[in-house]
Symmetry: C2
Subunit: 267 residues, 2 copies
């Protein structure tokens, strides 16, 4: 099911600035029995991302009702897209902007129905750096599209990305973290990448467990020297990398601990 | 008038990848008596941009017929948007992609009905660098939206942008060129910016006139020391900057010469 601005339709205005410029933000979240999982965090992130783009964010209760209305009865995924709406020609912000709100349900993908370890590769594409957009889950995602187009091998689940200075940033559709000597490491996302809700919850859970957290600039060699490397997003939770190109890891216990902490509560 | 995939409608699929990821390219061109101006160059650029994104480009004759069908009877503007179409969830390219083609006419804007000199400002936003997307007129234009949102003063026509290394790149909606000591200078666009059709035609015209052309990395101070600074795009042609923040220039003849050369032929 898909709804646009509160109506059950799969059509949007062809003049929408989301289409013209990628002028908007989005969220992909898991649903259980037609209820959004981690809703408070998802809404807080949506509101923060809207703020970064000077975009009006819908009311929390109204948006939640829309999500519940489209969500599958069992487990599922809902995507929320907010754009700056239809506008006149040109980049200038509309004088009276009216946010377009698209809420779209789909089945839980097969890969999110288990917690199997996964294989990944390094991508050739290097992320450009734009601090004004870094961290925000906006609709300008051509880098992700080009990076994902680098491989067809269905055994490769994810591609890891560095920025153009050589620092590790994230996966194409996930954030990346690793455990080493009892501490947790994850790239700083102030220059590029998306600071996802699953990553944020993981860091919060790790702090609660008294685990030391290092957020910073890390080179691929530092990730490769990890005890255990993980990727995460809101749909699939935390997943262990069993393999990254030619590097193979055995489990070191991190993924299990963090997944348990991540799903401690669903709100 | 607006047509989507050959039908007169202003609606597109809310699952279109143009909206989800900005996964597409566009052109904005001038029309005269329902015919596209500089059509061969616009089509060649569209095809090259599609190629950069591994996107299927519609047939030239069919696309031209669409443009003629929507174009205003007198002078006007037509925007062509090509996207990778509606797709399943996820960044991976669709197995059987079907390009969405939107063709949209609007009136010639007031500012394009004259060749008046204009005022500009420097933007605070610094463009990120992504060589895989540089030069391409793709739908990931949030940097342009944020830069254009920096001013409301209606006497400021354009904002000039540098990249994050401090090099001059372009205007928000235009390319930038300057004349100095008999030669023409314009920024290299291999790291960011859009290599527009008007710029390309200007460089070709300058070469035909025997003018020396320098394409490279230039700092703002080099632009400020120019005899005459110009901005250009396909809708407005070449326009002289009379003022850039506190710097004021008197005409040195460049804009007139180049506009004449630019409009020598309309094909």
């Amino acid at each position: 099911m898909i709804r646009v601005n509160g109506l059950t339709t799969d059509r949007v205005n062809a003049r929408d600035r989301g289409l013209a410029y990628g002028d908007g933000v989005f969220r992909t979240l898991r649903t259980e029995a037609s209820q959004p999982v981690w809703w408070a965090d998802h809404y807080a992130k949506l509101k923060a991302d809207c703020s970064a783009l000077m975009l009006d964010c819908p009311d929390q209760a109204e948006l939640r009702a829309e999500v519940c209305q489209v969500a599958e009865a069992g487990q599922g995924v809902v995507k929320i897209v907010l754009t700056r709406g239809a506008g006149a020609r040109g980049y200038a912000l509309p004088i009276e902007p009216a946010t377009t709100c698209i809420v779209l349900a789909s089945a839980l993908p097969h890969h999110a129905q288990n917690f199997d370890d996964v294989h990944a590769r390094w991508c050739e594409l290097k992320l450009g750096r734009q601090p004004r957009l870094a961290g925000v889950k906006h609709l300008n995602r051509l880098e992700n599209v080009l990076a994902r187009a680098e491989w067809n091998d269905p055994t490769i689940f994810e591609g890891l990305l560095c920025d153009d200075s050589g620092a590790v940033i994230s996966g194409v559709m996930s954030n990346v973290l690793w455990g080493k000597g009892g501490a947790l490491f994850t790239p700083d996302l102030s220059q590029c990448g998306v600071a996802g809700v699953a990553r944020m919850r993981l860091l919060r859970a790790a702090a609660r467990l008294g685990i030391g957290i290092h957020t910073g600039r890390f080179l691929p060699a530092e990730l490769l020297a990890a005890d255990e490397v993980m990727i995460c997003n809101s749909v699939m939770g935390v997943r262990r990398l069993a393999r990254l190109d030619d590097t193979i890891w055995s489990p070191a216990g991190w993924t299990l601990t963090l997944n348990n902490a991540l799903y401690e509560d669903l709100d």
